[in-house]
Symmetry: C2
Subunit: 509 residues, 2 copies
């Protein structure tokens, strides 16, 4: 095909033409082959480098398949829906929201409901109490950058009761999910461009890719430490020491990230293990970033907050602990509510942190209201108490059942082994991938477990995330699945998975 | 005072002791004078540098005075409340929310309302339509990182109707207010640490401090260009050229920010002026960042979108335009809804942008729903149409009245002059500050207009922001006030202001 534009003549193959057309890049600029002002050669290199597997190519492909199925063009597939086991998105997998929380949001949105008989008195009272602290008594007003004062106080009271320890509401900032808190803390401790070495942040491998993505975006240095799969994904201080010593020549280690309960590992740290980590952080003068968003998701063992353990050890180093309305038994991911507690921070540094947050204005006030309903549930004797407890219990009981089911089922499949799912919402089983499949993946320039996950998706509609997206010991292969599909759906999914795995192994053996 | 801790003995003056105690920094660590791990010497220099005047010291002081008044300790003050004219926070200043929008949010929060007679059918239908596109039909599920598909489509349709031009929903991303969109675009075009020079971003002076704060946080270089106060704050191409040429030795110019209607200036750009800017950006190969959040707030003149003007000029350079649920006639700041449209972007760059956003998961889904109600209001014939239009009209009519009142009143005061408030929600009057007041400010190490604003706050309770927080021609002094207090409150405020100004001038003459 031959286009003539002025004196410039360009030949484009039919395939290329079709692809340009399909991708919507068929503009005059492309035909003239003129470089756009903003192009891959002059955008932020850090942005190019960052990867976020939980929403990466597998998930994009899952979306395409869903659209195919919806439009009827995917009718020759042996399944009729995609099971999204790739992300901890509770409601998307059928979990129903807490009635009390949603009623408070409804009243806060439409204040006319405060005068109706529709809702119990505690719903209306809570809403009124919170609105008193909002500008113009409206969720449409900006809150302080750190959040609505009374909600910060309720968070402090929640922490106080959890740890049987004092908590200062002025050390708590309300954030857009936990993600914003983590990203802000990392921005705070990042070195400036004038520093000779980047700031180092210790992150577990496997890890939740928010950390690697943000560290890449900010030009920081990830100091990877491996979790011990053979010991329920616990942390070994020897491993921590080895990894920090190795990294010292290329970065200035500043913080250690701990995810407890673990994502993607589903592990729950013992108290002794936490003490080890705290001692290590004291010796290495590190800030501890404790990602404790799954603190309500404990199916085996006990949750110890870093704050409590540190307090009992009389540790005075800095700790930032994050919590979220997105996980636990409420699973309100879309509302974007979360908090970050700063412990032992220099007041001058805290002031800098608050100043930095002020340029973001504030997090969603309705998200803050949702968080409030979690850190301060209705109390015994209040009209909403029984239903709240029943709904909470129902979700946590189901999650516990599924945690057992997932680990047991994978362990019953030859070539797959899983640690106990003691907490959080995920299993991270190890898979044996046959050499022929590894070769095939290499041919396609894919990681072997990505190839495995893509085959699973294409042939069954089950969407998981490959272990390579979280990091793993070289030569080992894993995947992360959530335990969120409802019980019957999960049982069905595990059967299909088993069948797929056996066929996959047979095919590539 | 003498503390003995082990073998260490430290003398602390009573004043210092009291100050430490008051500031809550009276810990063992401080007594031992041990440097915290995270301290002012090792945090991000960029964070230390950034300033955000709209929420700076004046606003913090306003909060303190409010608490004094509430607690009764501020009873000797000649006023009994603080008037917050410092921030465009509509609901906090008494504006009431749109009924339709809030009813949709209530139904979306509590789906039981979908089966009640409480709400009109169009409210319920809209909610159902939007929920169809949410995971598990819940606002508690994550949306795509770019936002709920149908809402992106509604935004595209809104832009299409506004400009009478095509708009592709896949070029639209839904963001946490407009701020997140702006911050993300700046992050995208930032140079990496390996680049020899920082990226330069042209910003108007005076400007909305989100820009200077984010540019500082990201280690970018602000290329300030002065708006022409003598010509209704218009842009002069000569000034643009002068500022970019001066900056070229210290940075790589990448983008130009235009705020239209203007914040803090209250100006509305003419079509000719926009054309000048576009031609300039083409010549300089700059990305245009059009902050068009006040596009509904026009009291004089006409709003031309950069997209439309660029299209008619056949310009193919990149444009990012932002919009927000926080301004206009809805003023839903606390819901954090906004969008960013990318025009003429290289598809590969757009893909990088989407990848970067994915690590933030998504913006508040309820915030997205709020935005939907603005970009697609009820239509004629639908039950909510009349009320929606009435409420919209009421707000815009009141704003127009106040825009005139504010400019006229300030122009009637000797030593204050204001341009016309043609758009947005602010006036940015120039003030003449007597030499003795300038000397007094210098003594206090304050900018003269900061000193003026602080005196105003302390003596009247009126909280404005000093011009120095936005930038201004050296030797000139300004302040920004919103036009948001309700009519009677605003009239009262302007009277008190006039009285204050006369006394201030008398005192320092």
């Amino acid at each position: 095909m031959n286009f003539t534009q002025g004196r410039q003549s360009i030949l484009v193959s039919r395939t290329h033409f079709n692809s340009m057309w399909k991708n919507g890049i068929f503009s005059l600029r492309n035909i003239l082959n003129k470089e756009p002002n903003i192009n891959l050669n002059n955008i932020n290199e850090n942005v190019k480098r960052l990867e976020y597997a939980v929403r990466g190519p597998l998930v994009i492909r899952a979306g395409e398949i869903e659209r195919e199925l919806k439009s009827g063009t995917g009718t020759d597939r042996p399944f009729n829906s995609v099971i999204r086991a790739n992300i901890g998105d509770c409601h998307a997998m059928g979990q129903t929201p807490l009635t009390y929380l949603r009623q408070v949001l409804a009243c806060a949105s439409d204040n006319a409901l405060l005068n109706h008989d529709t809702y119990p008195s505690d719903v209306k009272n809570r809403t009124k109490e919170l609105l008193e602290y909002c500008g113009g008594k409206s969720v449409g007003a900006y809150s302080d950058s750190a959040g609505v004062e009374i909600i910060r106080k309720h968070c402090a009271e929640y922490i106080r009761q959890r740890d049987n320890l004092d908590a200062d509401w002025q050390n708590i900032v309300l954030t857009t999910g936990a993600s914003e808190g983590i990203r802000s803390i990392l921005a705070l401790i990042n070195t400036s461009t004038s520093d000779p070495k980047p700031s180092g942040v210790m992150i577990p491998i496997p890890q939740y890719p928010l950390y690697s993505a943000t560290i890449a975006e900010y030009g920081m240095h990830p100091i990877n430490y491996y979790l011990d799969e053979d010991n329920q994904w616990s942390l070994s201080v020897d491993e921590l020491k080895k990894s920090i010593n190795k990294a010292r020549s290329v970065c200035i280690p500043k913080a250690i990230v701990i995810i407890n309960p673990g994502n993607p590992t589903g592990s729950v740290l013992t108290r002794e293990n936490i003490e080890d980590i705290v001692r290590f952080a004291i010796n290495e003068k590190l800030l501890i970033i404790a990602d404790e968003v799954y603190q309500h998701n404990i199916y085996d063992g006990e949750f110890f907050s870093f704050k409590k353990v540190m307090h009992e050890m009389k540790a005075t180093i800095e700790l930032a602990s994050v919590f979220s309305a997105s996980k636990g038994y409420m699973g309100e991911c879309g509302l974007r509510g979360g908090y970050c507690e700063l412990v032992n921070f220099d007041p001058a540094v805290k002031q800098m942190f608050l100043k930095m947050l002020s340029a973001r204005l504030c997090s969603s006030v309705l998200g803050q209201f949702a968080l409030d309903c979690i850190v301060k549930p209705p109390e015994q004797g209040e009209p909403s108490f029984d239903l709240y407890m029943e709904e909470k219990d129902q979700v946590l009981t189901a999650l516990k059942y599924r945690a057992g089911l997932v680990a047991d089922t994978f362990n019953s499949i030859s070539g797959i082994s899983s640690n106990k799912v003691a907490g959080a919402m995920y299993a991270f089983p190890k898979i044996t991938i046959p050499p022929k499949a590894i070769a095939k993946a290499a041919e396609l320039k894919q990681a072997p477990d990505f190839f495995y996950a893509m085959e699973l998706l294409e042939s069954t509609g089950i969407c998981i995330v490959a272990g390579s997206g979280f990091g793993q010991l070289p030569g080992t292969y894993h995947f992360r699945t959530t335990i969120l599909p409802q019980n019957d759906k999960l049982e069905e999914m595990l059967n299909i998975f088993k069948d797929f795995h056996e066929k996959f192994v047979a095919k590539y053996s």
